[in-house]
């Protein structure tokens, strides 16, 4: 049983050794670089704990759909699929997305070259991670030393007389190799960079409808009534309309019909309730510079927001009045055209 166990172990060791040598040579000759995948953001294609092999290629060789390993912020590496490529020349701007992520990475990666993943092996990353740790290093080096010892050791088992290699040389060589490999592993472990976060998730929230107010005219045209005009009192026209909205005030302009000259303008505000009466008295003193009777004027009323006068109704109520010389009263203003 011991013999079978020893033979099996030796054979397994030799196979592992050949694989290891092949791997080292392949890495060197083809420029393949191992990538340990430590999260599931590329799942299920590349699961957590996979070992991927990547080859450095120029940015111009990258295509959408390639899985690449690039440096993210702070020297952390990210392995994600290329979602889109922008740019020309040596540089490319990559948008990356993990297979399992709902959205692309927020960060854009500007690269001149990237490591394109050519193959991946599930679970091998776990194994490599373990082997790279102190316990793993001890076990693997110890295992190899034990094999060497059992093969070259006591000599109780037959040393082959036809052995080509001198007896001491392989042992010395092996010790040197083990030392070199152990140092390499130690250096490798100590230089492994911490990796960047690679999971993303997205959520959206929408507002309802936000709508701005539209400033409206009073619902009905202002009513015009003739006031005063008896002996001793000047006559004037009174415009009356219903208050439309408590946020409103009303701007008015009085223009001379014919030449369009603005002879009066201003704002009427009210503290009244909605539908209460708002009045504007068009008197001769309002119409500065009007000296004769028989002149028509248009009084234009528009609603405005009293707090924001630039919010003004698009439409206008227009009421026509005229000046009139009344006997024993003098120059007055009356409703309607002259």
């Amino acid at each position: 049983v011991r013999r079978v166990l020893r033979e099996t172990t030796l054979t397994a060791g030799a196979i592992a050794g050949l694989l290891g040598i092949a791997l080292a040579v392949a890495s060197f000759v083809f420029g393949l670089r191992p990538v340990v995948v430590t999260s599931g953001s590329m799942g299920p294609a590349i699961a957590t704990g996979s070992l991927a092999w990547a080859r450095t290629v120029g940015a111009d060789e990258l295509r959408v759909g390639d899985v690449v390993t690039v440096d993210g912020t702070g020297g952390h590496a990210v392995t994600h699929r290329v979602a889109s490529i922008a740019g020309t020349g040596d540089e490319r701007v990559l948008t990356l997305r993990g297979n399992a992520n709902a959205s692309a990475d927020a960060q854009l990666y500007v690269v001149t070259k990237a490591d394109r993943v050519v193959a991946s092996l599930p679970l091998a990353g776990h194994a490599l991670a373990w082997l790279g740790r102190p316990a793993g290093i001890l076990v693997s080096i110890g295992g190899v030393l034990a094999l060497l010892a059992s093969a070259f050791g006591s000599g109780r088992r037959r040393a082959r007389p036809t052995a080509v290699l001198p007896r001491r040389a392989p042992v010395t060589g092996a010790v040197v190799m083990v030392a070199v490999v152990a140092a390499t592993i130690a250096a490798g472990v100590s230089t492994v960079a911490s990796s960047r976060a690679a999971w993303t998730d997205q959520g959206t929230a929408s507002t309802g409808q936000l709508a701005a107010h539209t400033v409206q005219l009073p619902t009905a045209a202002p009513a015009c009534t003739n006031e005063g005009g008896v002996v001793g009192l000047l006559g004037y026209a009174r415009l009356t309309w219903q208050h439309r909205d408590t946020r409103y005030a009303y701007s008015y302009t009085v223009t001379r019909v014919g030449n369009g000259q603005v002879v009066a303008s201003g704002t009427r505000s009210t503290a009244g309730a909605v539908n209460s009466a708002v009045t504007l008295d068009v008197t001769t003193s309002l119409l500065t510079g009007v000296l004769s009777g028989g002149v028509d004027f248009d009084v234009r009323i528009r609603s405005i927001l009293s707090a924001s006068p630039s919010w003004i109704s698009a439409a206008t109520w227009t009421t026509r009045v005229h000046s009139e010389n009344i006997v024993l009263v003098g120059l007055s203003v009356r409703c309607g055209p002259a």
């Binding site: 050794g17 990475d105 927020a106 190899v144 060497l148 082959r160 490798g188 976060a197 999971w199 107010h213």
Partner: protein
């Protein structure tokens, strides 16, 4: 037997010898060494080479949905005049297993959008100063890299208060205009 075949047989015997196989096994160390030395760690874990099958999961609103929480739908206001504002409190949670930091971007549409401002407060009532987004144009309102933390043992969560305002100096040309906005929250492992 030709000399060549004899040499081949001798080589085969040597190659299968215990010593040769033992020496070959050193190659395993070479492979491990090469791989470990050159390996790049990528994904979502750290230099301690821990693996994780965890995830992050951002949820919005008290209903903990991925999109369309009821809260922001109440960010609606008809008949806005300069000075009008509307607020809502939006809970944000991470129901996954990794901590994350998150960002928000806004896409707004409608003629009124250009006149609206957004403030985001780190409290539930929009009280005090808006520390997350301070009175930014709604069309460009955004924040980034906000870690979502919670009390120990509890699901990481926080509530932000959103306030949309039509400023007092809004132009009269915005009368009757409308707008809607969509806030996109993107979480990434911290």
């Amino acid at each position: 037997v030709p000399a060549g075949d004899r040499r081949l047989a001798r080589f085969a015997r040597f190659a299968w010898s215990a010593r040769c196989r033992a020496v070959l096994s050193i190659g395993a160390l070479l492979g491990i060494g090469t791989a470990t030395a050159a390996a790049q760690w990528t994904g979502g874990a750290t230099a301690s080479a821990t693996f994780s099958t965890g995830s992050i999961d951002l949820r919005l609103g008290s209903a903990q949905v991925d999109s369309g929480p009821a809260e922001t739908a109440t960010l609606a206001l008809a008949d806005m005049v300069p000075g009008s504002s509307v607020t809502t409190a939006l809970p944000i949670r991470n129901v996954g297993t990794y901590p994350f930091a998150y960002s928000m971007a806004t896409v707004a549409s409608g003629a009124l959008a250009s006149g609206l401002r957004l403030s985001v407060y780190a409290n539930t009532t929009c009280a005090g100063s808006p520390t997350v987004v301070d009175n930014a144009a709604l069309t460009a309102a955004a924040f980034a890299g906000r870690p979502l933390t919670g009390s120990a043992g509890a699901t990481p969560a926080e509530t932000l208060c959103f306030r949309v305002t039509l400023p007092a100096d809004a132009a009269g040309t915005l009368q009757g205009a409308t707008a809607t906005a969509t806030f996109t929250f993107t979480a990434a492992t911290a």
